[in-house]
């Protein structure tokens, strides 16, 4: 289906829903095209291609709500699907807070070209992608006698969305992503450590194509012979690529559903300090070629740059139309786009140089956070630092604490964000973190 056909189908499905008894409806038609090539030890291990479609209809039937999706897109089937969904929705309880968003908040067009879709991606042939993945592999393959296996992956995807609502929203978007990664596994006396490196870019031309295999090998070799150390309270540096893991509970706690269902440790904290003054984070949907950039969110609300945390003070929750009504708050957006940290002046190496004794966390291993209380505990791996230098790798340790306290211990944000990510989080340094080891 081309874009015009998708709009026509969406409108016809909405018309049918309204005629069949829905008061309001919105339809999203999503399409995704994916390619993946994995090379392992010089042989193509996997060659995968796929095209995925779905139509999702949100129905508001006498103030009763349901969401229904299907990959069967023939019109007669869709009409029957909608009829059955409406019948089923009628059994639910009324919810006075359920309705489509206020039209005034919709994106109305005229926004900038965000430049987030590589329309040439389809012209790159499979052989070129295979050669690219192979060149990544060859940077590491056979380069050290301890290597067990090297694998590299090239993947790309384009996704298209058409969104139409019965109260006047009509919009479409397209975004692409390309990814190259390598992972290396080495044999040692005590286990087979492995590590990876990856690069992402929205556009094939901007994808960094060299150094990936080399970095994956380097990082893996650095991990050899880890030891865990005494349990204790130490400063912690979290490497930029691992840092988002510590933020996911915060983002969950900002959600309307978590707040309303008392599963958020940030209830009542708006305009209150939740972190040290060092922390300022914004949600910015309008960054040109940003990996998370968008002109409108999942409901069609116009994308707006908003502060989430300013100098440690919580400024905005992530509130969609429904929870806005339930909580008595103006909606912001139910989801995040590009998460942008205010940057500091040093990168991770710079922070390490000034650390007398502490631990650099380069990866998390399981663990969780209690949404209601903020209690967290995570497995980690990384390095012991003493007197400004890495001493040895560490693993098999945990960090434990509470989200309501740990961010007050944030003493520095780095200047080292990762290109091509929607999580523009630098390396972070915390003091006084509880580590468990020996």
């Amino acid at each position: 289906m081309n874009i015009k056909e998708k709009y026509t189908l969406a409108e016809e499905v909405i018309d049918h829903a309204l005629k069949s008894g829905a008061g309001q409806a919105s339809v999203a038609i999503d399409e995704g095209i994916n390619n993946e090539i994995e090379i392992r030890d010089q042989k193509i291990d996997r060659l995968i291609q796929s095209n995925r479609n779905a139509l999702t209809i949100k129905l508001y039937v006498d103030k009763k709500y349901s969401s229904n999706s299907t990959s069967r897109l023939k019109k007669d089937e869709l009409f029957r699907f909608v009829d059955e969904a409406i019948a089923s929705t009628r059994y639910l309880a009324e919810d006075q807070f359920r309705s489509l968003p206020d039209q005034a908040l919709y994106y109305k067009g005229g926004g900038p070209d965000l430049n987030i879709c590589d329309t040439e991606l389809g012209t790159i042939d499979t052989q070129a992608k295979i050669e690219l993945a192979t060149s990544v592999l060859n940077e590491a393959y056979n380069k050290d006698e301890r290597i067990i296996t090297v694998s590299s992956v090239y993947s790309d995807n384009i996704s298209y969305r058409v969104l139409v609502s019965s109260n006047g929203f009509k919009g479409d978007s397209a975004r692409s992503n390309t990814n190259l990664s390598a992972s290396v596994s080495v044999r040692t006396d005590k286990g087979r450590p492995s590590d990876y490196w990856e690069e992402n870019a929205l556009f094939y031309d901007r994808l960094k194509k060299t150094g990936i295999g080399t970095k994956a090998l380097e990082r893996t070799l650095k991990k050899i012979a880890p030891q865990k150390i005494q349990s204790g309270r130490y400063p912690m540096i979290i490497e930029n690529r691992a840092a988002p893991n510590l933020l996911y509970p915060l983002f969950n706690a900002l959600q309307g559903n978590s707040l309303y269902q008392k599963q958020s440790f940030l209830i009542g904290k708006k305009d209150k300090a939740i972190a040290s003054k060092v922390m300022s984070v914004a949600d910015d949907p309008l960054i040109p070629s940003g990996a998370g950039s968008r002109l409108f969110d999942g409901e069609g609300l116009a994308a707006v740059r908003r502060p989430l945390v300013e100098d440690g003070v919580l400024r905005n929750y992530l509130i969609d139309t429904y929870y806005g009504k339930k909580l008595g708050m103006d909606p912001t957006s139910g989801g995040s786009s590009n998460v942008v940290f205010r940057l500091g002046t040093r990168n991770m190496e710079g922070m390490i140089n000034l650390l007398k004794k502490g631990i650099v966390v380069t990866g998390f291993n399981g663990g969780n956070c209690n949404g209601s209380t903020g209690d967290f505990s995570y497995g980690i791996e990384g390095y012991l630092v003493e007197n400004g230098a890495i001493v040895h790798p560490v693993n098999e340790m945990n960090i434990t604490g509470n989200m309501n306290r740990i961010f007050f211990n944030l003493v520095e944000t780095g200047n080292d964000i990762i290109e091509g990510s929607s999580e523009l989080v630098p390396s972070l340094m915390f003091e006084e973190v509880d580590f468990s080891g020996i």
């Binding site: 095209n51 479609n53 969401s67 059994y91 044999r187 492995s194 291993n365």
Partner: protein, 508 residues
């Protein structure tokens, strides 16, 4: 962030999907003598034996060794109670075929949601590119596979409207609020999935399956003196809507309340290494993370698993026997046949302390020259099958629960979990404890909660020093993630003591 080398398991509170739309009846042409049941499935997907043969031939046309077609029609529903009423549902229909070609250990794959001959031939063509020679014509006779019937359905979910689910959810709400005045919120949900599967491969195997999966979940949230605590309990089974009973509702409601109350008294243990006693049941997460993934044969043939060189060796005490079982009736981790058409079985992976079995898919079974163990699984037709677990459990040991607990001077007893993860190369595995107790001088004392435990797989396995005769299965909504795809699993364990694990906690 893409979880690639990290394999994880978590409690799901999942998905949903819509109502059944069957394509109109489609008459098969005359062909091989096939049973009424498989013919019904062919008609359901609007294919004939002749079409299947043509697609397989196209898939094998560049010299692949093997090809398979996995047709799937999945209808899922999710009904949610919040704030006293069932006021939202979501539904999803997935429909399509995954076409896979193997050349040695190499995989070509494509899927299509349009199950027309043209679309399937196109996908077969794409998948066939993993080989780059010419193929010989495929001439396997149709061989209908008669599988066991591990999950008979009394009342199908497609015949069960949301109207019949609502009373059970409302009863949960009632029971939980009535149980304690500090209850402030209740969330309850039922999710059900019905999958129609049709499988055909280049060896002629033709099989069908009808797979139900149901989950009931209760979250109790309480507030006491400004403090909020919550606890989630859930149950899952491969059953039709006979799964929903008042007994199940009452049991889960009582458990959710009881466990939430305890959370208010919970403390954190001291950080560091200590003895850990695991209670029977979902503590089987220990097996899933510490060794289960590391025994998946793809990691072993690639030699990336820390257990790759330990086959046939003693890895645990002689009283330790661990199996991965796909044959338990109505179990969340069971399958009548796996997602590559191989029969499932009870696979012994550690036998009296010796590592005797890996978990195989077709590729690794061929590599190791053994028969497939029925562990080839996939999230849906949109993914390739790879070795996955099913129900991973340890058999009874020689000790008694009481003697195990009283043998611990300073340690912890752990009971409820939410998720775990493992690095199969380094061997570090973890699991997150939602509830447990300190053990002080051989007795359970203060409750503990929200701490992560980390250990090393081979070390932890060898450190299982006591195991009781009370092995039990978990029945929660466990979903295992690997390689970007999730499959339902279960686990089981008797009471065990592990000599030493690293426990997340506080440094005084």
């Amino acid at each position: 962030m893409k979880l690639r080398r990290r394999d994880f398991i978590r409690l799901s509170g999942i998905t949903a999907a819509g109502s059944l739309i069957l394509p109109p009846l489609f008459q098969s042409c005359k062909g091989p003598a096939l049973s009424g049941q498989v013919t019904a499935f062919l008609d359901h997907f609007e294919v004939t034996p002749e079409i299947l043969e043509r697609v397989i031939s196209a898939a094998m046309s560049r010299g692949g060794d093997y090809a398979d077609l996995y047709f799937e029609h999945t209808i899922s529903n999710y009904s949610d109670l919040q704030d006293g009423v069932v006021n939202q549902t979501s539904s999803n229909i997935g429909y399509g075929v995954g076409i896979r070609v193997l050349k040695g250990d190499q995989t070509g794959f494509a899927f299509t949601e349009n199950v027309t001959p043209e679309a399937m031939l196109n996908a077969a063509n794409i998948a066939s590119n993993i080989a780059n020679g010419t193929g010989k014509p495929v001439t396997a006779d149709f061989s209908e596979y008669i599988s066991p019937n591990l999950y008979p359905v009394m009342t199908s979910w497609e015949e069960t409207s949301v109207r019949e689910k609502i009373p059970f959810l409302e009863r949960i709400n009632e029971k939980v609020f009535a149980a304690d005045s500090s209850v402030t919120k209740v969330n309850a949900s039922v999710s059900d999935t019905t999958s129609y599967i049709l499988f055909y491969n280049s060896e002629g195997r033709l099989a069908w399956d009808n797979r139900p999966l149901a989950n009931l979940s209760v979250t109790c949230i309480m507030e006491q003196n400004g403090r909020i605590e919550n606890f989630r309990v859930a149950s899952s089974s491969r059953k039709g809507s006979e799964f929903l009973t008042n007994d199940l509702v009452d049991r889960l409601s009582a458990e959710a309340v009881e466990k939430t109350i305890i959370q208010f008294d919970a403390t954190k243990p001291k950080a560091g290494e200590m003895e850990v006693v695991m209670s029977p049941g979902e503590s089987g997460i220990l097996l899933h993370e510490a060794i289960g993934h590391a025994f998946e044969a793809d990691f072993n043939r690639k030699k990336t698993s820390i257990f790759s060189d330990k086959f046939g060796q003693k890895v645990a005490e002689s009283f330790v026997t661990i199996v991965d079982d796909g044959t338990l009736p109505s179990d969340r981790g069971s399958l009548n046949f796996d997602d590559e058409g191989s029969p499932t079985e009870k696979t012994v992976i550690v036998n009296n302390g010796i590592l005797t079995g890996y978990l195989h898919d077709r590729i690794s079974a061929a590599y190791y020259k053994v028969k497939p163990t029925g562990n080839g699984r996939r999230q849906s037709f949109r993914f390739i099958p790879i070795p996955r677990m099913r129900c991973t459990r340890m058999e009874n040991g020689p000790h008694k629960k009481e003697e195990i607990i009283s043998s611990v001077k300073n340690g912890i007893y752990v009971d409820s979990f939410s998720n775990g993860q493992v690095n199969i190369g380094a061997g570090d595995f973890t699991f997150f404890v939602k509830a447990g107790y300190l053990i002080e001088n051989g007795k359970l004392t203060k409750p503990i909660k929200d701490i992560n435990i980390i250990g090393n797989g081979p070390q932890a396995l060898a450190d299982i020093v006591m195991a009781a005769d009370d092995s039990r299965l978990a029945d929660g909504t466990w979903t295992c993630g690997k390689d970007g795809q999730g499959v339902p699993v279960t686990m089981g364990l008797p009471t065990v003591k592990i000599r030493k694990l690293t426990v997340g906690g506080i440094n005084a």
